[in-house]
């Protein structure tokens, strides 16, 4: 039977990455993700893996690119300002169709911001986070167990679709401790990495990992092909959790840490007889549009709860094609909304309907 251990979110995710076969971790110190690198620096030597502290986040993501090009399951983690620096590498990873897992334990911004938890990098994560036409798959865990589980999902999806999977968490999820069942899921059947640079051994034509196209027609075609893959992902990989949505009249929505607060507020509203429910996106790209559009046909209004000035709310409005009003409820800068604040937003909206 799988062990249950009390662990910090950052460490649970790091251990799961090792269990998922990650043997190459490249990091750079930044709060509140330091536990990931510290754990990897201890763990990697025990499994003959590579832990390397890079000279910058830029170097770290390019080391990931090199290791991934060479066929490895490679990972880096950082927090908001560091992830911004990685955006160049994220774009090259996309252009080269390379798998990678990149973790963002978000903190308050912009600028140096604060070291407290935040969800203000939603745009950076879901709108590419780098130049050019591309997406990353963005997973948004909301518990230490999910931090653990999503590492397996991240590596499998990255290899399956040959792209970056971004684990978008925050300081709350990274630092809090919860019991984790250390289940190791069955690995997905994945295609062989026959494109990887390994040395030809004089036996095959050389493999080239590249994102440069001299002919714009060729680049356009490559981008169109890539977006066909994205369309499959949007159809098949969007994940969400619905709570008390069957008879809901108000749909509260939140991802990650703020979804825990939102769920409490939904329970409090139910106690007062208000029919609130919760949709929690587990992938924020692809955004679970279908679930929202379907809910829009039944509920009177939405309340979007975020630890930002309001970023995911744009995806909610797009998903429901602005059919119903969407209110925003949030704190920013490293502040966390409390259930009473969310409850107040629900009650205000409930009265509107």
């Amino acid at each position: 039977m799988a062990e249950t251990i009390l662990m910090k979110g950052n460490e649970a995710m790091a251990e799961a990455a090792v269990m998922a076969g990650c043997r190459h971790f490249f990091g750079y110190p930044i709060t509140p993700q330091n536990e990931v690198a510290a754990y990897m620096s201890r763990r990697m030597p025990q499994v003959d893996g590579v832990y390397l502290q890079a000279e910058s986040e830029i170097a770290a993501i390019n080391m990931v690119l090199g290791a991934s090009a060479a066929g490895a399951r490679a990972m880096t983690s950082s927090s908001s300002p560091g992830v911004a620096l990685k955006s160049e590498g994220l774009s090259y990873l996309a252009g080269c169709d390379l798998p990678a897992v990149v973790v963002n334990i978000q903190r308050g911004g912009p600028g140096l911001g604060s070291i407290q938890p935040s969800q203000a990098d939603y745009f950076m994560a879901t709108r590419g986070g780098g130049h050019g036409d591309f997406h990353m798959i963005v997973l948004a865990p909301n518990s230490v167990q999910e931090m653990f589980d999503c590492a397996f999902t991240a590596f499998d999806l990255a290899d399956k679709y040959r792209m970056t999977v971004n684990i978008l968490a925050d300081g709350v999820l990274g630092q809090m401790m919860e019991p984790v069942v250390m289940n190791s899921p069955k690995m997905a059947e994945l295609p062989a990495k026959d494109w990887a640079v390994t040395g030809t051994g004089g036996k095959r034509k050389s493999n080239i990992v590249n994102s440069l196209y001299l002919k714009p027609e060729a680049l356009e075609q490559t981008n169109i092909e890539r977006y066909k893959r994205y369309a499959v992902i949007e159809k098949e990989e969007a994940r969400s959790e619905s709570y008390l949505m069957d008879d809901a009249e108000i749909c509260v929505t939140a991802y990650g840490a703020s979804s825990r607060v939102a769920r409490n507020a939904v329970d409090m509203a139910r106690e007062k007889g208000v029919k609130a429910g919760l949709i929690r996106p587990i992938t924020v790209w692809p955004f679970p549009k279908g679930v929202f559009l379907e809910a829009a046909g039944r509920v009177n209004s939405f309340v979007c709860v975020e630890m930002s000035m309001g970023q995911m709310i744009e995806d909610v409005e797009l998903a429901i094609r602005c059919k119903k009003p969407v209110a925003f409820c949030g704190r920013t800068g490293g502040m966390i909304p409390d259930p009473e604040q969310v409850l107040a937003a629900i009650m205000k909206d409930g009265r509107l309907s």
């Binding site: 590579v50 000279e55 060479a70 040395g199 080239i208 990992v209």
Partner: protein, 253 residues
């Protein structure tokens, strides 16, 4: 019929896009010959830069990765750490290596990363049309130093080999030139030595090659070779800057 000269197998038969008289092509051939003569080509993985050599991935018959501007040593690190038994080299210009990629270069050396860097110093940004580089000579006219490089405002050229020779992790650092047949021979010997060091697991090796950019220097190919000799060589003396192991951990006993 007797074959007296042929393409070395590590060099592909693609027509390069380099300008007539550019010495990039010579250095490509030296790298390919060194790999073939040491019988390393089959386990070699190259990393191409951003610069005129960006399409080096088409010119070498080995596995290749094209890196972002300046990041080749970081990419090479990821490759090498995945396949420690492979031979990994980067091929980088002076803008790529000594401006935007300075940190990646210095730290790959500091880590003693077991890779080989082929560093093309042509005192200019070639690909973008001839802007001032960190290695541009004092008073040299470029597109962005139209009155000549004024060191009081634009600073001084960077001597990369000298700088890296102070780094303990660097194993072998040599500066060569490809302006004459004799120097081309020495350049090849240096490149071979660098790869041999890597194959022996000795750590970071870099060969700086003084090279020409006739197009952006505004000189014909022969005059460009002379300009290299008269202007670059005095400032960038040829020679071995480092050849030996890093000091023992813990320092002097």
């Amino acid at each position: 019929m007797k074959t007296i000269f042929e393409r070395t197998p590590a060099l592909s038969d693609a027509v390069t896009h380099y300008c007539p008289g550019c010495t990039h092509g010579i250095v490509h051939r030296l790298v390919a010959e060194a790999l073939d003569e040491l019988d390393l080509t089959g386990r070699t993985i190259g990393v191409a830069p951003v610069g005129c050599a960006v399409m080096a991935y088409n010119y070498f018959e080995c596995d290749m990765v094209q890196a972002a501007h300046g990041r080749a040593p970081a990419v090479a690190t990821g490759v090498k750490r995945t396949h420690p038994g492979s031979i990994v080299f980067t091929y980088q210009g002076d803008g790529d290596l000594a401006a935007i990629g300075t940190a990646e270069t210095v730290h790959a050396a500091a880590r003693g990363e077991n890779i080989t860097v082929i560093f093309i110093n042509n005192a200019i940004y070639g690909m973008t049309g001839g802007q001032m580089a960190p290695t541009t000579m004092p008073a040299q006219v470029t597109q962005t130093s139209p009155y000549g490089r004024d060191v009081s405002k634009a600073g001084y050229p960077l001597r990369v080999s000298e700088m890296l020779a102070t780094v303990d992790g660097a194993r072998y650092i040599e500066r060569v030139a490809v302006n004459s047949a004799a120097n081309v021979k020495k350049a090849k010997a240096a490149i071979k030595k660098a790869f041999a060091n890597q194959a022996a697991g000795n750590g970071f090796t870099l060969v700086e090659v003084l090279s020409t950019c006739p197009t952006n220097w505004g000189l014909d190919p022969v005059k460009a070779l002379d300009w290299l000799k008269d202007n670059m060589m005095p400032y960038y003396p040829l020679g071995v800057y480092k050849d030996g192991a890093a000091p023992e951990a813990g320092g002097e006993a």
